[in-house]
Symmetry: C2
């Protein structure tokens, strides 16, 4: 990893140092995805079946996984994975319970009561990517908040493996979250099926979950269509910034950087440190640990694009971190709690030497669906509130309307909206004759 | 207004009856807006000045309104408008205080504490459209939650009038909300300036507020750009659904329908009623009241596209309303409170005879920036939470990590991510020799 001295960089070099890799879609992806969406919207299951044959290489007659297969998954799963899923289900549940939107009521003026009321989204779609290994943690991170929000229809889509099956770890995690409708479909075609519905897949209001470039583009396109489905967070490559002082153990820092670097060749990891000595020792430790990793080649590629930034003091380190707005931020310093008030932009923060980032990926209880690519400046990680919506309610007595009415009439007339004023004045005139008890 | 019997309509006719007018952008709008965004991004204030000359017909040397002009607005404003702004500022503030995101802390496992922390967005842009009359209510609906969230940089853009000025009602409402940076710029060029920054306008994280088709398209485009700014809610024409039974006064119902119909020729109003007699009497009352309105022509146009739907019972009325998902819903029935639990999809709800929709537009305290076009199925109206973001924080002791670590290691290995497992196992091995107090 390249070691840079922040104080020696000019403004342009600083911007380059903290720049994300450009997200360049392959030429034609937008059009290809639009074609897939159109086909699934028009031909439903038949189109879904075609694309599944074409992209996943299997013939699927019935997309929905049979209930018996879901309940049988528990038995075919090895005991340690099952226990780990149970443990994570428990901690994620504990942390997410208070994360929903809250209801409240205020008497804003005499005789005028306003409320906020919360409702679950009626139907949500959870997307769990395929790949070389099953991702039960993704099922939990989407399924637990959907369950706690009380969304009535919860659909899970995941690509079938080469034999047309879904891994027991996925099925078991889904079952723990009370998800009963699991469909063997992946890619842009699965997103289209959830957004518009097919003969067998119900249409959903919002789609959650990570995916490759095709899935991301499909989520973007259906979210732009008023007939489609909303999306969760804009997806980007995973990121970690470790902020460390001279007290940090280089062995731990290197292990954390590598845990993020192994995600994919486009993952970004940054070490920002006040200690030049630590920077050097982490560099050596990285080499040592890299050699022992099964995904060494991937990690090496993402480390090539990553940097160690040396800063003169902790305040500068925090400024660099807030400017970068990392998805994951580890504060491996003597007093992490003391720095927290100065953290402005981050997806999730890990305090101290004993809180590796992978703890949050799996089991601390926080959600691992987080804003990447600098969106931590504006957005929050997934919570129960994302599976809900709220609306406001107001209720005035005739006396309440008489009290606030003049303000409404004056503002409506100032804005040139006479019918708005009259919806009040006609009532006040009628109320003179026919007043209800206030 | 056309009167329809819901029970006589087939499924396709029902869908047509509840369909929104298609949102067709004029040909070339997307390209024109993209051109404006590019020009402002590249040439900053110079481009903004050009477009302001071109579209608003005025030469603006200094975009920012002088502080003295803001403080002087109070004196040039008539007393009744000023008092009405003060009153609305008070009720909106009271209602919005509890609407922010909440912080909390949970010990998810022994020695593992997780938290949610809330931060204001650092910089927000508030857009207030121009037009025939100033819109101080829009300033309050955006400015009060921005103030309560504590956003450090709050910028307001509004198009200058023919003399290059901003109305005192706008300036005074902004001053009440503590907004000190007001810029005389409108249209797509103002959205571009706030999203990317210029020499004089600061770049913001998120842009709020209504606008015409050009503003809406500009907000959509900058929200798609990772270098741009997020947006608030997708904009659409205003809507009202009145759900009324035989107890409703046709005079009030007609006044409410007209208050929404006068917004614009594309506004949609629906009356859903269990009483055929009420339907007829509202029809007559509409004609009578229409003739007295200054915006009669506009209201008549939007009523032409609107409908009265007769239903056999209240349950069907609610089903129609939930299917339509109106921005505004008036429950003008004998027991509105009793119906509320069955309301699933609405932006804001108005209970009973004495709560006209215009009360919520101006002074009940609820926000009038609400989901339109069916988005009430998925989205919530504006609140303080939209001007904030949250992040999660976790902190484990070495004993806490020892307790949860095995679950992390098992899940990471099940997902084929060995470096994730080692970020835990290397710490646990080190901890054997060098354990900190738990």
């Amino acid at each position: 990893m390249q070691i840079l001295d922040w104080t020696e960089l000019g403004e342009a070099a600083r911007t380059r140092t903290l720049a994300r890799p450009a997200l360049l879609d392959p030429i034609g992806r937008e059009t290809t995805v639009a074609g897939i969406l159109r086909a699934v919207r028009e031909d439903g299951d038949a189109a879904l079946r075609n694309y599944t044959r074409c992209f996943d290489g299997v013939d699927i007659e019935t997309f929905e996984v049979a209930p018996e297969a879901i309940t049988a998954a528990e038995r075919s799963l090895d005991a340690s994975t099952r226990a780990a899923i149970d443990r994570a289900f428990d901690t994620i549940g504990r942390f997410h319970v208070p994360s929903g939107k809250s209801e409240y009521r205020v008497e804003t003026a005499p005789g005028v009561v306003c409320r906020r009321v919360v409702r679950p989204l009626a139907a949500v779609g959870l997307y769990v990517p395929g790949g070389s290994a099953p991702l039960p943690s993704t099922v939990l991170m989407l399924g637990v908040p959907a369950m706690l929000a009380g969304c009535e229809t919860r659909v899970l889509c995941t690509p079938p493996d080469a034999d047309g099956n879904v891994a027991p770890a996925i099925l078991y995690a889904a079952e723990r979250c009370g998800i009963t409708r699991i469909f063997r479909a992946g890619g842009a075609q699965a997103i289209a099926a959830m957004a518009f519905g097919t003969e067998t897949l119900p249409r959903v209001d919002r789609i959650f979950g990570p995916g490759n470039g095709w899935v991301t583009e499909a989520k973007r396109q259906v979210a732009q269509d008023p007939e489609g489905a909303l999306s969760d967070l804009p997806a980007g490559p995973s990121e970690l910034l470790v902020l460390a002082d001279e007290h940090a153990d280089p062995l731990f820092v290197a292990a954390d950087l590598l845990s993020q670097a192994e995600h994919g060749p486009d993952s970004q990891v940054l070490l920002v440190t006040t200690s030049v000595d630590l920077a050097r020792r982490v560099g050596l430790e990285l080499e040592r640990q890299l050699a022992e990793l099964p995904r060494e080649a991937i990690a090496r590629q993402s480390l090539d694009a990553s940097r160690i930034i040396c800063v003169p003091d902790i305040a500068t380190a925090l400024a660099v971190s807030n400017r970068y707005a990392p998805e994951h931020l580890i504060l491996n310093v003597a007093d992490p709690e003391g720095l927290l008030p100065e953290v402005r932009n981050a997806g999730s923060v890990f305090l101290g030497a004993w809180t590796p980032e992978s703890l949050g990926d799996y089991a601390s209880g926080t959600n691992h669906v987080l804003p990447t690519y600098g969106y931590a400046r504006q957005l929050s990680g997934l919570s129960v509130g994302d599976f809900q919506k709220s609306f406001t309610v107001q209720s005035a007595t005739s006396a309440g309307l008489a009290g606030l009415g003049p303000a409404v009439i004056a503002l409506a007339r100032a804005e040139g909206l006479e019918a708005h004023a009259r919806a009040v004045s006609r009532r006040l005139e009628a109320g003179e004759h026919d007043r209800e008890p206030a």
